[in-house]
């Protein structure tokens, strides 16, 4: 490992505290495995992404969320394809924990993102997050890059801004970050646009695929995708009922008691239920108490087939 990999003079995202940030430079082992055809997947245990083998180089989706993990990701790709450098990076969306460190992954690569994601990236000016070189506004756009075919799909508002899926019709595979993943994680559903989320995600069921690669943890099947969406859809009624029943969305103990009683019998075996079931409920309650958040949270979702 080179000296630079231990450096504390790291890109610091939007941290404002001074001094060294050793976690930014910390190395994390990246696991990787072939998925289908030219598609590989990589994970450090919590975050997951994909990369593609091209004729001359590699196409990396996302960067992981620190300079140290971005470099580890680059090294992992280099182990699999030592003679094929990363020449293209595709951002799934604009959040730093997935796409914050292209400057450490592949500073000379061409970066592709949705226009909405890039608008936020340009405004954010986060240290280490490079703006895109190519953006698009279409709902669905085909790419042929270095022998790799994929479609980038912006289905509508889901999580973050400009959150796109990568669809590989020849491999019946979809990669999309921070939307449907196994279990009931996602804390309080950070930066989710709840009004849109379920109907927009159901649009993917109009495509032909049987393998879903999420941005966290493991891959899931089409059937599991439907089950998870059903949980999120039913939470709308649970959220309303909790308000009617007098639950305070800021009372942590009360939230957990209510969640265990009402949701536990149905969902307590779901991955991370005990960590996040109460937070999920609190977030859904807020959608009825406050209304959706901002313009993004109140636009009418597009439910037409993709």
């Amino acid at each position: 490992m080179s000296e630079a990999e231990h450096s504390c003079a790291e890109h610091c995202g939007i941290f404002t505290i001074g001094g060294e940030l050793p976690i930014q430079g910390a190395y994390r082992d990246i696991c990787y495995q072939p998925l289908r055809d030219n598609i590989w997947t990589a994970s450090e245990g919590i975050y997951r992404t994909i990369f593609l083998e091209g004729n001359r180089g590699c196409i990396a989706f996302d960067t992981f969320g620190t300079p140290g993990t971005a470099r580890a990701y680059q090294q992992a790709i280099g182990r699999v394809f030592p003679k094929k450098p990363v020449h293209t990076v595709v951002y799934s969306h604009e959040h730093l924990d997935h796409c914050g460190y292209a400057a450490d992954l592949a500073p000379d690569a061409k970066i592709i993102s949705h226009d909405y994601a890039n608008q936020v990236i340009l405004g954010r000016q986060s240290d280490g997050q490079m703006p895109a070189h190519e953006t698009f506004l279409d709902e669905r756009k085909s790419f042929e890059v270095d022998g790799c075919y994929f479609e980038l799909i912006y289905p509508g508002l889901t999580h973050g801004d400009g959150n796109i899926a990568a669809y590989f019709p020849q491999s019946k595979t979809v990669f999309m970050v921070d939307t449907v993943a196994d279990g009931v994680g996602y804390t309080t559903l950070m930066d989710w646009h709840l009004t849109h989320y379920v109907p927009v995600m159901k649009r993917f069921l109009t495509l032909d695929w049987d393998l879903w690669v999420p941005g966290h943890f493991w891959m899931i099947t089409r059937e599991r995708f439907i089950e998870i969406l059903d949980y999120w859809e039913r939470m709308f009624d649970f959220g309303q009922q909790a308000i009617i029943d007098g639950v305070d969305p800021h009372d942590w103990t009360g939230l957990n008691t209510y969640t265990d009683e009402k949701l536990g019998p149905l969902y307590s075996k779901e991955f991370r239920y005990y960590e996040y079931g109460a937070m999920n409920l609190s977030r859904y309650m807020q959608d009825y108490l406050t209304g959706g958040w901002g313009i993004e949270g109140n636009l009418a979702p597009d439910t037409s087939p993709l």
């Binding site: 936020v120 405004g123 804390t187 950070m190 009418a300």
Partner: protein, 304 residues
């Protein structure tokens, strides 16, 4: 009778929507009053011929109870004007039940969100304000309405009353620590905007929830959120498992209890606040509102 239902779709919500709680009214000056249902708080003013009400409370029943409290405090004068502090239904969702014929004043972003939302009972504004400072005279009452930028919700307006040396700002700073998961807060510029209010001459602060406080209490509240933001960054430095409630709660209590343990609700809420704020640094803020020079994504899609 069917109540205006906001965004509720369950029929069972009707009873919840209809409840009319006791309201507690307090006269702050000859013309300025504040009122609370025990949780949400707002203000209203006596004009020469009418009443100017801020906000509506968060259900039809609460809006009616608010109307009765106003009528008891200022008998014989109708509510001619409602000013929306921001777009959220729990504060401004039910003008249709408070005063359906009143003129409604709001910031442009608040008005756009309300138009899109189409919540039943949340009447659309009739007078739209833009910019950071608006000075109005309504029915003999001089008002200064301030929108420094994205703080909480959309188009959040504070009201400054120089004569009363009073500031009203809804769901920004509280007199306690009961912030919960800090829904729809925009953190990038929040502290700077709040400290900006301290350039004005006031000594009494009316928050959108819970009890009133003074200038020192407001500064303590700003310092508290600022400190949580700093400790959330230090949580990364100290390898705290930032996604987990209990470790974040324990870490923040350990770091902040000495300075802020006096705030009511500190131990019950600082963990929730930390979970929210630590994700600000993990993810990078949410949307264009939460960037150094804030704008609003998709703003151009909505006309008024």
């Amino acid at each position: 009778m069917q109540e205006n239902r906001g965004l509720f779709t369950l029929e069972a919500a009707q009873a919840y929507l209809a409840i009319e709680p006791e309201m507690e009214t307090q006269q702050l000056s000859q013309r300025l009053y504040c009122v609370s249902d025990g949780q949400v708080r707002t203000i209203f003013l006596e004009g020469e011929r009418s009443v100017i009400a801020f906000d509506t409370f968060g259900t039809p029943g609460r809006a009616r109870a608010y109307g009765k409290a106003i009528a008891a405090a200022i008998p014989g004068k109708a509510i001619a004007t409602i000013i929306y502090s921001h777009d959220h239904l729990d504060h401004t969702g039910f003008a249709a039940d408070l005063a359906p014929d009143a003129e409604i004043i709001a910031d442009e972003m608040c008005a756009k969100v309300i138009k899109l939302r189409g919540a039943q009972g949340q009447t659309r504004p009739t007078l739209i304000l833009t910019g950071q400072r608006n000075e109005l005279t309504l029915d003999g009452v001089e008002l200064v309405l301030l929108n420094p930028g994205p703080t909480h919700g959309s188009g959040n307006l504070a009201a400054y009353f120089a004569g009363e040396k009073t500031l009203f700002s809804s769901d920004t700073i509280l007199a306690n620590a009961r912030y919960g998961f800090m829904p729809d807060y925009h953190f990038c510029n929040f502290i700077a905007y709040m400290r900006g209010f301290l350039s004005l001459d006031w000594d009494s602060f009316v928050p959108g929830r819970y009890q009133m406080t003074d200038r020192a209490g407001f500064e303590h509240g700003v310092d508290f959120i600022d400190a949580v933001m700093e400790e959330c960054q230090k949580a990364f430095v100290n390898f705290v498992p930032i996604w987990a409630y209990e470790p974040m709660k324990g870490y923040c209590i350990g770091q902040l209890a000495e300075r802020f343990g006096d705030l009511e609700g500190f131990e019950d809420h600082v963990g929730q606040m930390a979970i929210r704020i630590v994700h600000h640094y993990l993810m990078g803020g949410w949307g264009l509102e939460d960037t150094p020079q804030p704008r609003v994504l998709l703003n151009d899609l909505v006309s008024l």
